[in-house]
């Protein structure tokens, strides 16, 4: 897993996307999530059976050629696909589980009322919950709900670019962001630009400072564009690997650099009782192999990626 780098979790998919990303890299961001917004999970308005059509992530992302040209300048550049669905009501949320939506790297929902907010916090299997911060929310952000969502590893998003244009929007954004941070204690917050134009982007340090205005401490502010974004990615990953942070791969698929894991295991077999039942001849997993060397740290990492005790371990 890549080290936590400055990430912009929300760049809107539009024609001059590459300009935005060019500038973003210049400013110091290294990872971008390209956002495709679905205004409603229901398909067309007329017919009931008409289905919502979601483009495959490959169409949303930049093509390979432009990625390569960007990577020439910034080797660590990475793009992610993100889908944001606006939830007007609780219906049709099962659509989120469909394969075409699950193909996206990150799935976010924008909640519009208390009901969908509660639903998203408690049951929906999403990575990010966002709000329309430019208006007053119309419902109160309950601390219990936010804690529940945080426990499930879901993050809340604050988008700053709409606030740059109009004063009322700016005021509401500040107000909403502050109440979100107050209710959630500053945990599990990510800050992203949501920019359509290059001029909406600000540099990572500007964003960190801005986050401090919203009431985050300095380290929390940094986490909001750095570590929390990675946690979102890990959470998204866990969604794909049968709801767990432990993934299983065949030992024959291990790369040359990872082969040591097998030898290490054989020599240390007696030292770890818990690992005894995991016969290394057939299968192994890389995450647990580190556990051999540094249990505590590995566990710490697991929990910071996903604080969900019952799903943490999987029987092999």
């Amino acid at each position: 897993m890549a080290a936590p780098v400055y990430t912009d979790m929300n760049v809107l998919r539009q024609p001059n996307l590459s300009d935005v990303i060019d500038l973003g890299i210049e400013l110091g961001f290294e990872q971008f999530a390209i956002n495709y917004v679905v205004s409603s999970l229901q398909g067309g308005k007329g017919k009931k059976n008409e289905k919502l059509i979601v483009p495959p992530p490959a169409e949303v992302l930049l093509n390979d050629e432009s990625v390569r040209s960007i990577q020439k300048r910034c080797a660590s550049f990475k793009q992610l696909s993100r889908l944001t669905a606006v939830l007007e009501d609780a219906s049709n949320t099962h659509r989120l589980g469909a394969a075409d939506i699950q193909a996206y790297d990150i799935i976010a929902v924008q909640v519009t009322n208390e009901k969908t907010f509660q639903l998203a916090c408690s049951t929906l299997d999403v990575d990010i919950i966002c709000f329309n911060l430019s208006e007053s929310l119309g419902f109160s952000l309950k601390r219990a709900m936010i804690n529940l969502a945080a426990k499930r590893g879901i993050h809340f998003e604050i988008v700053y670019s709409p606030a740059l244009q109009e004063n009322t929007v700016k005021r509401n954004t500040i107000s909403n962001a502050m109440s979100l941070i107050r209710a959630g204690g500053g945990k599990n917050v990510i800050i992203s630009s949501g920019s359509e134009q290059p001029i909406d982007l600000r540099s990572p340090y500007d964003v960190i400072n801005l986050a401090r205005l919203f009431g985050l401490s300095h380290s929390q502010a940094k986490d909001a564009i750095c570590r929390n974004c990675r946690a979102v990615l890990k959470h998204a990953e866990s969604r794909k690997t049968c709801k767990s942070v432990v993934s299983v791969i065949k030992s024959s698929n291990l790369s040359v650099k990872e082969q040591w894991v097998l030898h290490q295991k054989n020599t240390r077999e007696d030292s770890k009782k818990t690992d005894a039942d995991m016969d290394s001849s057939e299968e192994d997993n890389t995450e647990d192999a580190h556990g051999n060397l540094m249990d505590s740290d590995c566990e710490a990492e697991m929990s910071d990626a996903l604080e969900e005790p019952e799903k943490k371990k999987i029987k092999l």
Partner: protein, 123 residues
């Protein structure tokens, strides 16, 4: 004048420096920022402060120390309020003439000497 019998001494300043210096760049959509005079530039800064922080925010002394031709300026902010003033600059998104603009902070230092060179090298 150097006095021969001055003893070697070391002074350690307080941890909080009185000022914060920053290098900012201004971009305005579809306009050449190089044309801005220092007074205009300062006016935009004051607008930014007034919008986000109001009259009280605008009353802090922000000094425009130097303005280069590419819209990059050196500013001096009072240390205690620098967070808010910086955020106010970040939040400024449109000029009075309704043009989109952006202040981006390039470098920050508690000492003016720190802005002489940028040690984060570009390749």
């Amino acid at each position: 004048m150097v006095d021969a019998d001055v003893k070697t001494k070391c002074f350690i300043s307080e941890k909080k420096q009185p000022y914060l210096y920053m290098k900012v760049s201004l971009t305005i959509d579809g306009e050449d920022v190089g044309q801005l005079t220092p007074v205009q530039y300062k006016y935009l800064i004051m607008q930014a402060l007034k919008e986000t922080l109001g009259q009280i925010g605008a009353s802090y002394t922000v000094d425009l120390l130097k303005l280069s031709s590419n819209g990059v300026a050196l500013l001096r902010l009072p240390r205690g309020y620098s967070d808010k003033l910086w955020a106010a600059l970040t939040m400024y998104g449109a000029t009075p003439a309704k043009r989109r603009c952006a202040f981006r902070v390039l470098q920050v230092s508690p000492f003016l000497m720190g802005l002489v060179v940028d040690s984060r090298w570009q390749q």
